[in-house]
């Protein structure tokens, strides 16, 4: 399940493919940005009920799972169904310089926003020089 990324040099945050992903699952687009505070992930999940979005962090991996069930109504004729329905899962490996325990998640306008702050230890700090 490898896909070409224009940002192939992004070694810090590799993604592992999921073995449990069924044929019905789809791949939601992700934007990843980084600033002095940490990593920001935007996962595009249109039509997903926030109750059906699950974010898990374990050791150095961040997993996102979401469901958009398709409820077929017998009284409706479906002419076009281009929207993605089913289940969705993606896992990212986050370097230890970020603190996954402090991950913040927020779902708005069909986009799941995740923020992983830089760990305290990795933040630049001034080292005092003692003059003897």
């Amino acid at each position: 399940m490898l896909r070409f990324y224009p940002f192939a040099d992004f070694e810090d945050m590799s993604e592992r493919s999921h073995s449990e992903v069924s044929d019905r699952s789809y791949r939601a687009p992700v934007d990843i940005t980084e600033d002095a505070a940490g990593i920001h992930l935007s996962v595009y999940l249109p039509g997903v009920d926030p109750e059906h979005v699950y974010v898990n962090s374990e050791q150095n991996s961040l997993s996102i799972r979401a469901e958009r069930p398709f409820e077929r109504d017998e009284n409706i004729t479906y002419h076009r169904m281009e929207g993605a329905y089913g289940s969705f899962a993606r896992t990212f490996t986050v370097p230890s310089t970020y603190d996954l325990n402090k991950t913040e998640a927020n779902y708005k306008n069909g986009v799941l926003h995740l923020f992983v702050p830089r760990s305290e230890a990795s933040k630049p700090r001034k080292i005092d020089i003692s003059v003897s």
Binding site: F10, Y44, P46, G47, Y78, G110, V111
Partner: protein, 140 residues
């Protein structure tokens, strides 16, 4: 099902033509705006209305417009480029455009739109026709 679907087929052809015309117009207006993204569309046929659902995650009301030109429903939007350094970018930034030619029984009055959870829903009421059975006369 097939008969009902048939009504959308000429619409598709027309749409293609309109899209082409539009692309030309746009090209002369602004050659850089030619690249447009077509968002995913669901088209449902209910007894008394049609429902169009367009996936527009992350877009707000002010980023979108819905217009009716003749019997063509046009959905346009713009995802603005943020000035942040993106390391991975899989979503389309720029303008999006989708046009659908409505079937004959679609009523232009009373079209309703709703934006929620990144999905723009457009409800188009349908003309209610009574069914008449036409008698077949057998020739001798």
């Amino acid at each position: 099902m097939l008969e009902r679907l048939e009504r959308f087929l000429p619409a598709r052809r027309q749409r293609l033509r309109q899209d082409m015309e539009r692309a030309f117009e746009r090209f002369f207006d602004n050659p850089w705006s030619l690249a447009e993204f077509e968002p995913a569309l669901d088209l449902e046929d209910h007894d008394d209305h049609y429902t169009l659902k367009v996936d527009v995650p992350g877009l707000k009301k002010e980023d979108l417009s819905v217009t009716l030109e003749g019997n063509t429903l046009i959905i346009e939007g713009e995802r603005k480029e943020e000035h942040k350094r993106r390391r991975v970018s899989e979503v389309y930034y720029g303008s999006l455009y989708r046009a659908v030619t409505l079937p004959e029984d679609a009523k232009p009055d009373g079209i309703k739109t709703r934006l929620g959870r990144g999905v723009l829903e457009v409800t188009v009421p349908r003309e209610q026709h009574e069914k008449h059975t036409i008698e077949i006369v057998e020739a001798d």
